[in-house]
């Protein structure tokens, strides 16, 4: 599910597959939150490039987009790489209680 794409020297985003792509100028914190959540919960057979085009400064002429997408893509990459560890950490909380008390 493509959420961030580079097209016509600009960057566009959407928060769900049913939605239209919007100019990156319009992206706010709630949009970033939705995108991060989707990426975070990616299926095992999915890859990062299925969600976002890789940052390439030569393909973007809008300077504001260049600045935003450079950092945004980096953060997405970091999230992608760490997501298994983070999920593991969260699931580890009260793991003992889960094993001991939860009815199977």
């Amino acid at each position: 599910m493509m959420l961030l794409k580079i097209e016509d020297n600009k960057v566009f985003f959407r928060t769900d597959k049913d939605k239209e792509f919007v100019n990156l100028d319009e992206i706010g914190k709630d949009d970033i939150l939705s995108i991060f959540k989707k990426i975070f919960l990616a299926k095992e057979d999915e890859e990062l490039k299925d969600f976002a085009d890789e940052f390439n400064k030569d393909l973007i002429s809008n300077d504001a987009h260049k600045i935003i997408y450079d950092r945004l893509y980096n953060k997405i990459k970091e999230l992608w790489e760490n997501r298994t560890t983070i999920i593991g950490e969260i699931k580890n909380e009260f793991k003992e209680a889960e094993e001991k008390y939860f009815t199977k």
Partner: protein, 684 residues
């Protein structure tokens, strides 16, 4: 009669103060105190090599034993002195060593299991207020017939138990000494007991310990015990020493003091204040009471202290400044909208970050539910009321919510980090003004906290009695007040410099607190103490402030209350502390009650005081001046006996002793005919 001491330490463990064992001193101790049998009872260990050496060298029967940490107390376990008994104790010490690695004590159940045939052992628990005593409930958990005696802390408790009608345990009194190399002969314990037996075998000893009438404090089988190590026998109850001035009463008391451990000694005039300056003595008295109540005040102010420390960290000025800056920047931004360039036009340019939410209560709820599930396994009541609750599902849902919350927070953190990295670059490229950050939530929270603090301090400044405790006929009243002046504050915070400028803010608690913190005054005395003043009043039974004489009486009551944690109480001339020659009824009652817990010795040069306290045993001291020096005599006996005798068998009439005590002789006695004298006179 055989004298035994079945509680002796020869190894320094982590339960003792460090000491080095001396077998020479053990030899001296056993010989000087003429002991026939001892038991070596170290804390949770038995060293067979050291034990064999002691058995070889000591001229007495030596029994092997251990003092074991059981649940809620200590118990001595002793076996026969032959090779079988020694092996039993060695094995027991090996077995408990493993168990004690996991827990700090051995349960009674396991102890019984480890002693394969418990009838081969002698069990002596600490009882009746000896440190680490086992309660009767715990002792009853032992199978019947295994425990029939208990080690008491002092001679009075021994006496009480021996004469008691209901208590089934035979009392025993042992030295509990650490035999070390720097021990002086004067320090050798006087705490041993006599058993009316012939053979020193464990079975005979056990049989004697099952029968209270076979256990004594002295060889004569009377109820007296040696209090000085020189044959000065006193009664395990109230003893009164009388005699004219300079007959050696205080010297005798000091001798008893130095020959015994853990003695509460109230010296002559210790309780009297300088009566010349009434104001000064009241102030001093208040100080003493204040010192006693210090802990209570600290507890009282604990929560306030925590709150004040939190509030002291709040800087409302910074919050205000941040709000001003925010509004300025907002106005500026609105005016400049038209000038925006492509950077400023992006939404992220001024996007505010996600507010960090405070931790919810989910984690503590989950932990509480887990504790509840665990406790339900042991607690019938919990089970009764909660067995219907589906804890599994409840826990599952809470854990799931908790994880969701964690997950959301983590993603929000990532978003905020993105904003942190994007915004400064966008803003640096643009000429447009940026909107400054302002944490509204934090500001509101701080305002509310400060408001609550101000309200709390205001209500706490209203005068209130916060404690009223009784000691005998007296009560101690503690009142919390507002601080009335800068001078009082100065005194409280012990600062030589002026505090008027701080005290001006006293009616604005938050400002006052911040001022105190900024000037570094709060750390020295504790911030909480600078807010309130406490008044301590001691009231008599009519609710009025105590007079000078009553203050001394109160001090004696307080000293007596303190004496409960000691093994013996000595009081030197209590009447010197009082206006009234007769000790008050209340104090007599208290001393009488105390004598059931520990032996009491009172010195008085006033026989009236001595008799009004109804002693169990009396001493009368006489000095005879001769050309070649003075001779001192110590006569003693029961108060209602016709005669008193000294160690060499010299006898005087009790009535003569009484008359001798009156400084103005028989005339004064005739003037004050009181019933108690007549009892003695008729005997005489």
């Amino acid at each position: 009669m055989k004298k035994i001491d079945f509680h002796i330490h020869t190894i320094s463990t982590d339960k003792d103060e460090s000491f080095e064992f001396s077998i020479e001193n053990l030899e001296k101790y056993v010989s000087l105190r003429r002991i026939d049998a001892i038991a070596v009872t170290n804390h949770n260990v038995f060293d067979i090599i050291q034990f064999n050496e002691i058995q070889d060298k000591i001229n007495a029967k030596v029994f092997p034993g251990i003092e074991i940490d059981v649940e809620k107390g200590h118990i001595l376990v002793i076996c026969s002195h032959d090779k079988f008994g020694i092996e039993r104790i060695r094995l027991l010490s090996e077995n408990i060593k493993d168990k004690l690695l996991d827990t700090k004590y051995i349960s009674l159940e396991i102890l019984i299991k480890l002693c394969s045939n418990p009838l081969e052992y002698l069990f002596i628990p600490h009882i009746e207020g000896k440190p680490k005593s086992l309660s009767l409930e715990v002792i009853r958990e032992f199978p019947e017939g295994y425990i029939y005696c208990g080690e008491v802390p002092n001679q009075s408790k021994f006496n009480l138990l021996k004469r008691g009608k209901n208590i089934a345990l035979t009392p025993v009194l042992f030295s509990d000494s650490r035999i070390c190399n720097h021990m002086l002969i004067e320090h050798f314990s006087l705490r041993q007991i006599y058993l009316n037996i012939e053979a020193l075998e464990l079975d005979t000893i056990k049989a004697a310990l099952k029968d209270r009438s076979k256990v004594y404090l002295d060889i004569e089988g009377t109820d007296l015990f040696d209090a000085t190590g020189e044959g000065d026998f006193i009664y395990p109850g109230i003893n009164v020493i009388t005699g004219k001035r300079s007959t050696g009463k205080t010297v005798f008391l000091k001798k008893i003091n130095s020959a015994n451990e853990n003695v509460k000694y109230i010296r002559q005039f210790e309780l009297v204040q300088n009566q010349d300056d009434e104001d000064k003595s009241i102030e001093e008295f208040q100080k003493e009471v204040k010192l006693d109540e210090q802990k209570f005040i600290e507890n009282h102010l604990n929560q306030f202290k925590d709150m004040a420390s939190t509030v002291a960290l709040i800087d409302l000025q910074i919050n205000h400044n941040s709000l001003d800056k925010y509004i300025d920047s907002l106005l500026k931004f609105a005016n400049d909208t038209k000038k925006k360039n492509s950077y400023a036009k992006t939404k992220l340019f001024n996007e505010e970050k996600f507010v960090k939410l405070p931790d919810s209560s989910l984690k503590s709820s989950i932990e509480a539910i887990i504790t509840l599930i665990e406790n339900m396994k042991k607690d019938v009541t919990l089970k009764k009321y909660l067995s219907e609750v589906n804890f599994d599902e409840l826990l599952k849902e809470l854990v799931s919510n908790f994880r969701k919350e964690k997950y959301n927070n983590k993603i929000r953190e990532y978003v905020n980090e993105t904003l942190d990295s994007v915004q400064p670059v966008l803003q640096s490229k643009s000429d447009s003004p940026t909107i400054s950050n302002y944490d509204q939530l934090l500001h509101m929270k701080n305002l509310l906290t400060v408001h609550t603090f101000n309200k709390l301090v205001k209500s706490m400044k209203e005068s209130k009695i916060i404690s009223l405790t009784n000691i005998g006929n007296f009560s101690i009243r503690v009142t919390r007040n507002a601080i009335d002046s800068a001078a009082t504050l100065k005194k409280k915070i012990k600062k030589p410099s002026k505090v008027t400028h701080i005290f001006e803010l006293y009616d604005k608690p938050y400002d006052y607190l911040i001022k105190m913190s900024n000037e570094g005054l709060a750390n020295d005395v504790g911030i909480e103490k600078a807010f309130f003043d406490f008044q301590y009043d001691v009231l008599n039974k009519y609710g009025n402030p105590v007079s000078g004489g009553e203050r001394s009486e109160f001090r004696l009551m307080r000293a007596l209350k303190d004496a409960y944690s000691y093994q013996m109480l000595l009081i030197d001339e209590p009447e010197s502390s009082f206006d009234n020659m007769f000790l008050r009824e209340e104090i007599n009652k208290t001393i009488k009650e105390m004598s059931e817990h520990l032996p009491v010795v009172i010195v008085t040069h006033n026989h009236t005081v001595g008799l009004s306290i109804k002693p169990d045993y009396i001493f009368h001291l006489i000095r005879e001046d001769k050309p070649d020096g003075s001779e001192y005599y110590i006569f003693s006996g029961c108060p209602d006996a016709a005669n008193l005798s000294d160690k060499k068998g010299k006898i005087i009439k009790n009535y003569t002793a009484l008359m001798n005590s009156f400084e103005s002789g028989e005339k004064a006695y005739e003037e004050r005919k009181v019933d108690i004298y007549d009892v003695v006179k008729n005997r005489g």
